[in-house]
Assembly symmetry: none
Homo-oligomer: 244 residues x 2
Amino acid sequence: MATPLHRALASELRDRIRSGAIGVGEQLPSEAQLCRDFSASRGPVRQALAALRDEGLIGGGQGKRPVVLESVPSQPFESFLSFTRRAELTGHVPGQQLQEIALRRPGPTVAAALQLDPQAYAVQLLRLRLLDDRPAMLERMTYVEDVGRPLLDADLNAGSIYALLSGEGVDLYAARHTFDAVAADATDSALLEVPEGTPLLRERRLTRDSSGRPLEWSEDRYRPDVATVTVTNTRSTRPSVSRV
Amino acid sequence: MATPLHRALASELRDRIRSGAIGVGEQLPSEAQLCRDFSASRGPVRQALAALRDEGLIGGGQGKRPVVLESVPSQPFESFLSFTRRAELTGHVPGQQLQEIALRRPGPTVAAALQLDPQAYAVQLLRLRLLDDRPAMLERMTYVEDVGRPLLDADLNAGSIYALLSGEGVDLYAARHTFDAVAADATDSALLEVPEGTPLLRERRLTRDSSGRPLEWSEDRYRPDVATVTVTNTRSTRPSVSRV
DNA sequence: GCCGGAAACTCATCAATACAAGTGCGCGCT
DNA sequence: AGCGCGCACTTGTATTGATGAGTTTCCGGC
């Protein structure tokens, strides 16, 4: 079995919602109807619906048909490190345009964040990320030299940097993400195709290996109408009985 | 059936892990064994395991027994829900000014997010949060009626809503945060003391109880020069969210 | 026309079974 | 002894059937 049935169903339903075939607020077909439509049993259908519910695409409750909630593409947390992967998971087509890659001495702020000597070189790159061929995010990444070197020879318009580095044995282990908002400057405006001054979501990220050594510093700017960032967390300690 | 079987199983397994009966790195019993132990079929057992996997407690894969992942000694749960708590931990002085509290029918978007009937009432409040007496964040919160009622009689300028609700036995279990950026509107401008159009960090949050029922919807807007939001994650642990 | 309740519909839960696919261990062959 | 193949075990996926519980619809009595 190439792709599991429940995954195919989830993908199909995601497409229907995203394409507008089922509008926001509308109800999905009932489970029984979906079973007939896809010639499947309720197991895979319910698995698919659970996946969509997990992604926040649909809501509903016992006795009520699932309804389409607001649909802005967002990311499940497992893929927090890779734009490519989270785009694929949510059924979008990721793309990228490398603007620049350079081996140079980073600015003092970045050098400090990476705990580098002010004289040390680092690999810096500026990349425009696309979702379904629309500009979605602009990333300025800085890698410490030994980690970033393989990037100089790679085809960075082809694949995921995260995947490439993982293949090289680089151990991206922990990341700290800081979010705020900034106004689009001239560069942002040109590449993201928004007026100057437009509010952008900014994510600054410092990634370390398992020994705590900083490997990567990145500043990403998102067009909020195209992409958002979603985080889910759960209480670890839970009382065993529910009063609800 | 008071509590579903799969929930009881998940609870039991959680306790075994947390109590150390199954140590970190050890394997759980196989699904078949768990079925025999609990006299259940594979359905509920797999549902329970999926829940634990979702919480990051266990890992594993096809053909491999589930293993207990390293426990997360991360910050207590309330630190991601309570602005007050987080501010105190970072040495700032939190403050708040309740602008408005009302029992009303929420708008269609909010009602949909909370899975409420369009006619149902909810408790809505608008609060300005301060850090060291400077405006830092504006929060618009909506609680489903039965959860929010105690707030109507409380002194909301005094303490933390999270602490108050916890005291009432409300079981805030999981939250989903979505981040983007918006321009300050007239209200934001007046209360946060920034010019209209200033980029603000927006956090939309849906909090659920352990059964998955939505309890709270909140939209928070941060002045990026005063407060930011930070998320930390590692490969093997769940994310933790903090503000300030 | 209004209201109450029965009935139909829907999702939630659980059981039992079957087969596919991945893992790991041990046995047997070299 | 070392290596590789195969078998037992385990999880992933899918089907079918049954029951419980919540929601919606609609019809009949008033």
